[in-house]
């Protein structure tokens, strides 16, 4: 590689035209914000889908004439069509998991923070970074367009199990909609791969002088592991998606066995021989979940990183057990590759294999407990500053515990066989995966908002938003444990067609009302976000008195991140309340030998 040419002042290199500076930008901060805002739009859409799902579960017998006018394909005479319901939960899951909760924390905050925390001018491959955003956007457009093609969007669940997803006649959404689903996912994976290459390379190659691995903020550690998880697990879904396309369009039989019938008609050729034979739908499940389980940690790990950094800052204490925190992240990431089978306990597997998957799954409880212990030990006897960001971080800890505990039930094959596909599972993953990731994103937004827009978010609105969301979130998802254990299955268009579920309608109505409160509460966030971005109080360089490198440059940071030379690092970012230090925090760039010990 050519030796780097001297760059006089980085800002002078910034593109000046609006379109190159803010639209087709190669600046990691702009790209991060682009990702964030796009994820916000996707969240709004997926959230509305969830509201429709809840409406149907609470009052399946009611008629909503206004919705028929609004969504003529989804409703007939004010009553939701069952196929539309299947489409709703499929697309809610797909958009939330991939296009919101993988995107906002990883692609959004990862892009914004990695070079700032690493002490780099930009990502390692800025062009690739810009390309990754635009590839992602194409994926979003394809996924959203799928609502309007043919008979509607995909309806085979976010896991797209064949044969439902592989045969065109099964449900209306398995026609063009499912094809669009696959194509949209391929764009998403391509974009995420480009991002992952950038993340890993930047963190491993471009750290500033003095920033050793064990001096990195835990957010950076989580981003590194997320990048590795993405690079190693997503290809399994790429392979599976290619085979699914071939099964759907080119007549192969990777996933399709013989003897299939759609709407009572056997799938046979003109000569009476089956169109497909020998394929195994289980193969898709294995490949999907080989991605799927690391994927849920792709959502989770950034939230755990943000939480550690935010808690340390607002407890004014070093994070407790930094090395064990890093070890726990590594252990969780590694174990995530050997537990995918716990999603398939009822799909049929050898009980011995199931036992192995169950044991590995239980093992994840160990590093998870280490993390919780360390957070609590950091909080212990500290003078906590209850900022909005801190509240969200505490919310993550709360959800991580309550959602994690139900994971212990589900991880055991014997218990899971009863609980599979019930609302207990829905409660579990909404608390731990969706909830913790979402709360993590809100916390990170409140905390790093100055580095996004150079202004502070409004604390009063922020706290209002937190409490509304916290209470509504638990009210929505906690009762689902109860109805789940009682045998209430998920994905039911009309639960009350079953006699034993009729008694659950009042609980379902309570859940639905809570969900509506939860959805409406997000308006507070949108108002706060956009008002603060334009009219909020101007932020200083280091408004939280934190230690990381991102707090040593103006808010918002200029193109090239530091107006002068890149700072050097002399310590870890957690030197708070060092007894002999003049202030209660010591910046990572402070060369003084105070408070230095072996980290």
């Amino acid at each position: 590689m050519a030796h780097p040419a001297p760059a006089p002042v980085a800002e002078a290199h910034a593109p000046q035209a609006f379109i190159w500076r803010y639209v087709f930008s190669k600046d990691h901060k702009v790209i991060g914000i682009q990702y964030y805002l796009t994820a916000m739009v996707m969240a709004l859409i997926a959230g509305l889908l969830a509201m429709l799902i809840r409406l149907q579960i609470a009052w399946p017998e009611k008629s909503w004439p206004a919705l028929t006018r609004l969504l003529p394909t989804g409703f007939t005479d004010g009553v939701m069509n069952p196929e539309f319901y299947a489409m709703l939960f499929t697309m809610h899951g797909t958009i939330m998991v991939f296009f919101v909760l993988s995107t906002a924390p990883v692609s959004g905050f990862g892009n914004l923070l990695i070079p700032l925390q690493a002490g780099a001018r930009d990502m390692a491959f800025p062009f690739l970074n810009g390309l990754s955003y635009w590839t992602f956007l194409v994926g979003c457009v394809v996924i959203l367009t799928s609502f309007f093609v043919g008979a509607g969007a995909a309806a085979a669940g976010w896991t797209s199990y064949p044969p439902l997803s592989a045969l065109k006649g099964t449900v209306p959404g398995s026609q063009t909609g499912q094809t669009f689903w696959i194509v949209g996912m391929v764009f998403f994976i391509a974009s995420f791969t480009m991002g992952g290459l950038n993340f890993a390379t930047t963190i491993l190659n471009l750290r500033t002088k003095g920033l050793s691995m064990m001096r990195m903020p835990l957010t950076m550690w989580s981003m590194l592991l997320v990048a590795v998880l993405g690079l190693l697990s997503f290809p399994a879904l790429t392979a599976a998606s290619l085979m699914l396309i071939f099964d759907r369009h080119f007549g192969t039989s990777f996933f399709l066995p013989a003897g299939l019938a759609v709407s009572g008609a056997a799938l046979v050729g003109p000569d009476g021989s089956p169109l497909h034979q020998g394929g195994t739908p289980l193969l898709w499940q294995h490949l999907f979940w080989f991605l799927g389980h690391p994927e849920v940690y792709i959502l989770m790990l950034p939230a755990l990183g943000f939480t550690s950094d935010i808690i340390a800052t607002f407890c004014r204490k070093p994070i407790f057990g930094y090395r064990t925190m890093v070890g726990a992240l590594l252990a969780i990431a590694t174990l995530s590759f050997v537990v995918w089978g716990h999603h398939m306990f009822v799909s049929g597997m050898s009980p011995y294999l199931a036992m192995a998957f169950a044991v590995f799954t239980m093992l994840i409880a160990v590093p998870s407990a280490v993390k919780v212990f360390n957070w609590l030990a950091t909080l212990w006897r500290s003078r906590i500053r209850y900022t909005t960001a801190m509240l969200w971080a505490l919310g993550v800890v709360s959800l991580f515990i309550s959602g994690g505990l139900s994971g212990i039930f589900l991880g055991q094959s014997a218990v899971d066989i009863h609980l599979t596909d019930t609302y207990f599972v829905v409660a579990h993953f909404h608390l731990i995966m969706a909830g913790a990731a979402l709360f993590g994103v809100f916390g990170a937004t409140a905390y790093w908002f100055p580095k996004m827009f150079g202004r502070m978010m409004n604390e009063t609105l922020g706290k209002l938003h937190f409490w509304l969301t916290f209470v509504a979130y638990y009210s929505t998802f906690f009762p689902m444990h109860y109805i789940g254990v009682s045998g209430h299955m998920r994905r039911l268009y009309d639960p009350y067609q079953y006699e034993f579920l009729k008694g659950f309608q009042p609980i379902n109505q309570f859940i639905t009302i809570s969900a509506f409160v939860l959805g409406t509460s997000q308006l507070v966030f949108f108002v706060n976000f956009f008002w603060s971005a334009f009219r909020g109080k101007k932020a200083s360089e280091n408004p939280w008195d934190a230690n990381g490198l991102e707090w040593t440059t103006p808010s918002p940071p200029p193109h090239g991140n530091w107006p002068g030379p890149i700072p050097e690092v002399h310590r870890w970012p957690y030197d708070y309340s060092v007894p002999e230090a003049p202030a209660d925090h010591v910046l990572q760039t402070d060369p003084a030998p105070i408070g230095e010990r072996a980290h």
Binding site: A7, D122, T201, T252
Partner: protein, 212 residues
């Protein structure tokens, strides 16, 4: 292809770097400045090859599972494949020659060897298409049986990665022609790494499809 983009974008690094070169990978108490981590482009390429490897690992597991089905009919490899394999390996050898010429700063010779290696790469692709036609002429199509499905799919995915590599050849040749390289620099090193990797993947696929 991401691989060529990596190479194209890597020089962009020189833009935002600071005058004192302070944002170079640190020494001292930072990570050790070894050769591997010193070059973001090289690391990025290895990470990319890691993700491509996982793609073929995914296909391999699918292949091994699917092969256990009762409807599996083993496919005889089209005879052209052996010739194609020889062509691809020769292309790798010629690329190494070009790389050596460039290191000795004989850009004209390097360009000629590079062009020859690239043409052999194209020839390999043409040969693969001919092998598909050979099979099709025998009445063995994509959906004929699971083994043929996997053969078309895996050789196709491999070929797609090779097409990306040929794009990289073109850009490297362009840079060589304009002499946009520093004497003594291993300007074709990354391309050679990727190209040999694809040759190794092809040997592996042959082994998986017709030997295992």
């Amino acid at each position: 292809m991401p691989a060529e983009l990596l190479q194209k974008t890597a020089p962009g690094l020189s833009g935002p770097r600071d005058p004192e070169g302070q944002d170079r990978p640190p020494g001292g108490d930072g990570p050790s400045p070894d050769q591997f981590l010193d070059s973001p482009a090289r690391f990025g390429l290895w990470a990319f090859m890691g993700t491509v490897t996982m793609l073929f690992v995914g296909f391999t597991s699918a292949y091994l599972v699917r092969r256990a089905s009762a409807d599996w009919q083993p496919l005889a490899p089209p005879s052209l494949l052996w010739l194609n394999t020889a062509v691809l390996l020769s292309s790798s050898v010629l690329l190494e020659r070009a790389r050596g010429q460039l290191r000795r700063w004989a850009p004209g010779d390097a360009l000629r060897w590079l062009a020859a290696a690239g043409l052999l790469g194209l020839l390999f692709l043409a040969g693969q298409v001919a092998a598909w036609r050979q099979l099709a002429a025998q009445g063995i199509f994509l959906a004929s049986n699971p083994h043929s499905s996997f053969f078309y799919l895996l050789s196709g995915v491999h070929a797609a990665h090779l097409v990306g590599g040929l794009g990289w050849f073109a850009s490297a040749a362009f840079r060589l022609r304009r002499l946009a390289l520093t004497p003594g620099e291993d300007g074709l090193g990354l391309l050679a790494t990727y190209w040999h990797f694809l040759a190794a993947v092809w040997i592996y696929l042959l082994f998986l499809l017709f030997v295992v």
